[in-house]
């Protein structure tokens, strides 16, 4: 369950090495064990230079991407996990856990406590999940509030010290690196009371419980305890696929078994969903859920007809009457992929206004804060495209030919689609003092697509087969 090393690599296409190692940390005591455990199959962790090169090659991030390379592109070389074997000096370093996220490759090499030939299945190696978890932790730390390069550099410079705390010998103690940053609200650990390891100290501020339910329209959500109950209105769609934060101390079996895979019936558990937990210091996501609401909040259709170089488009949107007609914002994005720039557009909208991004081949229909009284709006028009440039126009691997979509972006405050809410009075806090309790709800669109009904669309929903 230990790690032999951790790397952060930034791919920099076009430079001499096509990337640079931004951070690395080795664990020599673990390396020593690896040498004994792996025996003749032992491959030492290389220096940063060779590691960088091998990693970029394996992830196909070297500049010679254009041609078919048998070692990477052969059809029989199927990798279905984020675990790779790096070719280093005629040998293969394995397992290397790595993934690319926001322009950074996160990589670690877990210790395998046995010989590597034959390779044991990943599922039986504890280091794989530990290695991934550390990388997720580092990624969370780096991405938290980081926008500019200088901020990234500051965070990177904090990493050696943070890893000294979180993973001093290669065995991960806590993946939440934020816990190790000095926190002014945290008293130093001098109390003799038993503190959870994920709590760096005790909270010294004003006691408060802040609950925010965010529902996303591809159906997810966020909530925070002590004991919090989530309730649904009568006839609300049951919450499913509930994943809770590890600080939740117990779970009702009905919560555990409620999922979107089984066929639902009327007897499905519909709450209240109780979550007893002991909160960590920072704000956190208590649980995620999905739900199968019977009606989408905004119904619509999208039709495209291709005539020579022109496209005739028609979009019709209708807000469901049960949905709160008060948006923070609502927009419909209509992209045209794999075509040239928009050279000409004639259109008619019944409501809102249309913005045109000619070079990007994109129309944005700004609907605003409210749908009109009729709850129904439409857009029709004719788009003409210019000749296709080489690399400038947007490429999409799905939207080929008539396959196209309208994507809706919206946010509604103080509303959830499921009706899910946390009653302030149902929050039980077992602590001295009376905390302030506040609750918020919101609905945010996530992947809300309306596909062109005149052409094939990628099917994602497995139940269509049933």
């Amino acid at each position: 369950m230990a790690l032999r090393g951790v790397w952060l690599v930034r791919p920099e296409p076009g430079t001499a090495l096509c990337g640079s190692v931004r951070f690395s940390r080795r664990y020599p005591t673990v390396e020593k064990r690896a040498k004994i455990f792996n025996g003749v199959s032992y491959v030492p962790v290389p220096e940063d230079g060779p590691f960088l090169k091998a990693l970029l090659f394996e992830l196909r991030l070297l500049d010679d991407d254009k041609d078919f390379v048998k070692r990477c592109d052969s059809c029989s070389r199927i990798n279905k996990t984020s675990v790779y074997a790096l070719a280093i000096g005629g040998e293969e370093l394995w397992p290397v856990v790595a993934f690319l996220k926001n322009g950074m490759i996160y990589a670690s090499v877990p210790l395998v406590e046995q010989t590597l030939s034959p390779r044991p299945p990943l599922v039986s190696l504890s280091g794989i999940s530990q290695g991934l978890q550390l990388l997720f932790g580092i990624q969370d730390f780096l991405s938290l509030g980081q926008k500019s390069d200088s901020e990234l550099n500051t965070k990177l410079s904090q990493l050696p010290d943070l890893l000294l705390q979180a993973c001093p010998f290669g065995t991960l103690l806590d993946a939440n690196l934020q816990n190790f940053l000095d926190n002014i609200n945290v008293a130093s650990v001098t109390q003799p009371q038993k503190l959870p390891a994920w709590k760096a100290g005790t909270y010294k501020g004003k006691p408060q419980v802040s609950i925010s339910i965010t529902e996303k329209c591809d159906l997810e959500g966020i909530m925070p305890n002590v004991t919090i109950s989530l309730s649904l209105p009568t006839n609300g769609s049951p919450l499913q696929d509930i994943l809770v934060h590890p600080c939740v101390t117990s779970l009702d079996s009905a919560i555990l078994t409620s999922n979107s895979i089984d066929v639902m019936d009327d007897s499905a558990f519909s709450g209240p969903y109780k979550f007893p937990f002991s909160p960590p210091l920072e704000s956190f996501n208590l649980c995620y859920y999905t739900s199968q609401v019977p009606v989408p909040p905004i119904l619509g259709f999208y039709q495209i007809k291709e005539e020579d170089i022109q496209l005739k488009i028609a979009v019709n949107l209708k807000l469901h009457e049960s949905v709160k007609n008060n948006f923070e914002f609502c927009e419909a994005h209509i992209p045209f992929y794999n075509r040239g720039p928009i050279t000409h557009l004639e259109y008619k909208v019944s409501f809102g206004q249309l913005e045109i991004f000619r070079e990007k081949g994109l129309l944005i229909w700004i609907i605003g804060q409210k749908f009109p009284k009729s709850m129904e709006i439409n857009l029709s028009g004719t788009v003409t495209f210019g000749a296709k440039g080489h690399d400038k126009q947007p490429f999409d691997q799905i939207c080929i030919g008539g396959t196209a979509y309208v994507k809706l972006h919206f946010r509604i405050l103080d509303y959830t689609l499921t009706g899910c809410y946390a009653d302030q009075h149902s929050v039980q806090v077992f602590a001295s003092g009376k905390p302030k309790i506040s609750t918020h709800r919101k609905l945010i669109s996530s992947d809300y697509y309306i596909w062109n009904s005149k052409a094939p669309a990628p099917i994602t929903y497995g139940s269509l087969l049933l």
Partner: protein, 875 residues
């Protein structure tokens, strides 16, 4: 000397990190370790610099202090630095402890004889147990933050020397019960508990009260004996599953008394009860440790873990669910009923696609599903398979989609293939069967790959998916037919994917490969080859061109030849010709090659065309196939150039092999103008075009002509072979024999055979028969002519009277000039080039025959004497 400046150090450290080996090999390398230690103790050096120096020694101890004495000295120096720190809070204490620990482990000096070990260990244990360890660490309240660090150091030492803390179990347990830091103590206790259990079971000892007493033996808290036993083979803290099946860590042999079992249960329960206070990753470590420690141990019901499971299953946290799977693998049905197993699968399936989890987690869960540790697995171990309880319903919730990332798409696709394989025989009347879904998905992937500007990865994933389908569903004709059709269309749309097609054809079996080849060949030759895709078409044809539809292919090539203007195109064209040569050939190809040999601009191309033409017209089919086929000598060479060259070399050059032939000398034949050796030959395997070459040592015969045999087959009698000899002097000789032949595989081989002996008597030739009645005078004339130039001798041959007649009739019959059987014979032997040997055997007596010899060449005399003695000896 003052300390180095911060900038100097920063520069030096950066140079070191860029390439430690290069830095250490440089001029500055030698001093780095020494400078580092001295600056750590220098009060003028800033704390920040010291921290970065310690960070370096944590990561590269073996480079800085490469041998045991250096590591010991460095660890001692670090410990000195530690105790000399002024009694105020300092950021250095923690990294100093870590660095000293690291040094002891990596330097291999941890042991009872190491002074640094004997200083560090009590210090760590003192800190871990919250005792006052001295002024250097400030007031005891300042020492508290170091407790966790000390525990971690001890855990690392225990990991590298399992069993080291075996005698401290009781102490650790008490500390955990008191106010100590929960996580470090829990993990340390769990690890040393597990190590102790394994070590004791190896030595077949019980726990001997280790769990209760504070310090159980007189040797103090360190058990170096246990550690030595453990150190011989490190213990996997979380052994991988199949390895453990073999009983590597089996603890079943450990005999615990009821009290010991009860105590052990209490410790485990204590650890598990407080486990929720640990971070998720540490909880997972604890579960791996305890699960595998208690597996199969009597009196330790796995039900102890049960209260934790519901809590763990509720999270989607990677390490926790993984640890639950480890428990599942360790205890199977004893901890998870069939219903539990179904629930666990459901949670996994749910987490494998939950929108709140990142892609690598999804992928890992999908992997876990295909390697799920089932209670009652059906398939062979180690193979990817959908667990039985996953069922079609759950599978269908995990359908692949074009919107997935490539890796996720492949993982989901694999599940779909398994589902299709299962449902093969089931009702096909559904509205949309999984097969149909699969076909649509593949069609979508091909459509993406066919896009003009689509990146390499989309094509790669399309072919990977096709390969996955081909290997998972080999018998499903319908799926494969549509796959072939679709791929042929994809090629039509985007010929530049030819390298992918070639690779695909290399990987799949003939079931799919053969029809796909035909479809692709059809696709290529159906259109005139004169566009920009020509190079791809040629690359494709080189792979798929075969005997069938030759004429279409040839006319395509003839058409294309005019457009092959540059070198690479010409080479591609020639490669197709070569492929055709290998499989079929034919008149059409010959004329195409002739045209190419004249027309191609590039001389190398013309040469190649001519070579192929010559090969085609001169070599028979099988030989041609071998000549052009993959090299026998080096079949796995990556470079096609080298491989081709080696292929030619192997075939067109002669191979040295052991001889599959036996050659022997047959009976002597004394007639004709020259002595002739009769040879008997026998083949051990079929050989063609045998040529036997002979060489005489010492040039005493004229050079011998080779003998040719067209065909030899084992078991079929061969005609005798005749080897005429032309002696330059009448002497016996040894003949070196070499065989040159072709094998049925078309290789030309060369084999040395054992040498053949030519005896003196093999050179005998008779004189021409004199006219009737003149025999006596003829012999007399010869007899007299020998002297005075020649030599004369007499030999006594111990033969019985009848013996003489037999001897003569067997060995000397052809040479007898005058005979008066049974007592008198006059024999004349001609020896090439110009000698003769005359014998008079007369007046046989009871115990022998006197033989008079005469020769005109005195060198023959000893040979003749030897011959007669041998002759008599054999009779």
């Amino acid at each position: 000397m003052g300390p180095l400046s911060r900038e100097t150090w920063a520069h030096r450290l950066a140079a070191f990190r860029a390439s430690p080996s290069a830095f250490m090999a440089g001029a500055d390398g030698e001093n780095l370790g020494r400078d580092l230690l001295s600056d750590l103790r220098n009060e003028k050096q800033s704390e920040q610099t010291k921290v970065s120096l310690l960070a370096l020694s944590l990561e590269y101890p073996a480079e800085l202090w490469p041998n045991a004495p250096a590591a010991e000295a460095a660890a001692t120096s670090l410990l000195d630095t530690l105790v000399l720190l002024p009694p105020r809070p300092s950021a250095l204490r923690k990294p100093l402890l870590l660095a000293a620990t690291t040094l002891l482990v990596t330097g291999g000096v941890l042991g009872p004889t190491s002074e640094a070990s004997c200083r560090l260990l009590p210090l760590l244990l003192g800190l871990a147990s919250g005792r006052d360890v001295g002024q250097g660490f400030g007031p005891i309240s300042e020492q508290r933050p170091l407790r966790a660090t000390a525990c971690e150091c001890l855990r690392e030492l225990e990991s590298c020397k399992p069993g080291l803390l075996g005698c401290s179990l009781g102490l650790l347990r008490r500390l955990l019960g008191q106010e100590g830091p929960v996580q470090p103590l829990s993990l340390l206790l769990a690890l040393s508990l597990r190590d102790t259990l394994v070590a004791q079971s190896r030595s077949r000892a019980g726990l001997q009260g280790l769990l209760v007493s504070e310090i159980s033996t007189g040797s103090g808290p360190w058990d170096w004996t246990l550690a030595e036993e453990g150190g011989a083979h490190l213990l996997p803290q979380a052994p991988s599953w199949p390895a453990t099946e073999e009983g590597e860590c089996g603890l079943a042999v450990l005999e615990l008394t009821p009290e010991e079992a009860r105590e052990l249960r209490a410790v485990v329960a204590q650890l598990l009860d407080t486990s929720y206070l640990l971070t998720p990753v540490a909880q997972a470590q604890l579960l791996w440790l305890l699960g595998w420690a208690l597996r199969g141990l009597r009196g330790q019901p796995p039900a102890l873990f049960k209260p934790q499971l519901v809590r763990l299953l509720g999270t989607g946290q990677l390490t926790l669910l993984h640890a639950v799977l480890a428990l599942k693998a360790a205890f199977g049905e004893a901890l998870f009923t069939a219903q539990d197993e179904a629930l666990l699968l459901r949670r996994l399936a749910l987490a494998a696609q939950h929108p709140s989890l990142p892609l690598p987690t999804h992928l890992f869960y999908l992997h876990c599903l295909l390697h799920f540790p089932e209670n009652w697995p059906l398939g062979p171990e180690g193979e990817e398979a959908a667990p039985l309880l996953l069922g079609p319903q759950l599978c269908r919730s995990l359908m692949p989609s074009l919107l997935h990332e490539p890796m996720a798409l492949l993982a989901h696709l694999h599940l779909l293939c398994l589902l299709c394989a299962e449902e093969e025989e089931m009702d096909q009347g559904q509205l949309q069967s999984p097969q149909q879904y699969l076909e649509e998905l593949l069609a979508g992937m091909r459509q993406r790959a066919a896009l003009d500007s689509s990146p390499q990865t989309l094509a790669t994933v399309c072919f990977q998916a096709s390969y996955l389908v081909a290997s998972c569903l080999p018998g499903q004709t319908k799926v494969l037919t549509s796959l072939i059709h679709g791929l042929a269309q994809l090629y039509q749309a985007r010929p530049m994917l030819a390298p992918h097609f070639v690779d695909f054809l290399d990987q799949v079996g003939p079931e799919l490969g053969e029809p796909l080849k035909r479809a692709l060949q059809q696709e290529v030759v159906s259109k005139p080859g004169r566009n920009e895709a020509l190079c791809w078409h040629l690359q494709m044809l080189a792979k798929v061109a075969e005997g069938d539809a030759q004429s279409a292919t040839l006319s395509f090539l003839q058409d294309a030849a005019a457009y092959c203007t540059d070198w690479s195109l010409q080479q591609a064209l020639l490669r197709v010709c070569r492929a055709l040569l290998q499989t079929s050939g034919g008149r059409g190809l010959a004329s195409l090659l002739q045209v190419l040999a004249r027309q191609l601009e590039d001389p190398d191309g013309r040469d190649h065309a001519r070579l192929y033409y010559i090969l085609l017209t001169h070599l028979a089919g099988p030989k041609l196939g071998v000549a052009l086929g993959p090299s026998v000598a080096a079949p796995a060479l990556a470079s096609s150039l080298v491989a081709e060259n080696q292929g030619f070399a192997a075939t067109l050059m002669v191979q040295e092999t052991p001889a599959p032939i036996r050659l022997g000398v047959g009976p002597r034949m004394a007639k004709g103008p020259l002595p002739v050796l009769q040879l008997h030959i026998e083949a051990l395997e079929p050989i063609y075009s045998l040529e036997l070459r002979f060489r005489v040592e010492g040039k005493i015969y004229a050079p011998l002509k080779a003998i040719h045999v067209p065909y030899l087959c084992p078991g079929r009698p061969a005609h005798p072979l005749f080897l005429p000899l032309q002696p330059r002097c009448p002497a016996p000789a040894k003949l070196e024999v070499q065989a040159l032949f072709s094998t049925p595989a078309g290789l030309t081989c060369h084999a040395p055979l054992p040498p053949l002996s030519v005896n003196f008597e093999d050179l005998f030739l008779p004189f021409p028969q004199p006219p009737n009645g003149a025999e006596w005078s003829f012999f007399e004339g010869l007899w007299d002519s020998c002297l005075p130039k020649g030599a004369e001798s007499r030999v006594w041959c111990p033969l019985e009277p009848q013996g003489l007649e037999t001897l003569v009739s067997r060995h000397l019959e052809p040479f007898v000039v005058v005979a008066q059987p049974p007592s008198s014979y006059h024999i004349a032997i001609r020896l090439l080039p110009t000698s003769m040997l005359l014998l008079q055997l007369e007046a046989a007596q009871i115990d022998g025959v006197p033989v008079a010899l005469r020769t005109d060449d005195w060198t023959v005399l000893p040979l003749a004497g030897d011959y007669l003695r041998r002759l008599v000896g054999t009779e």
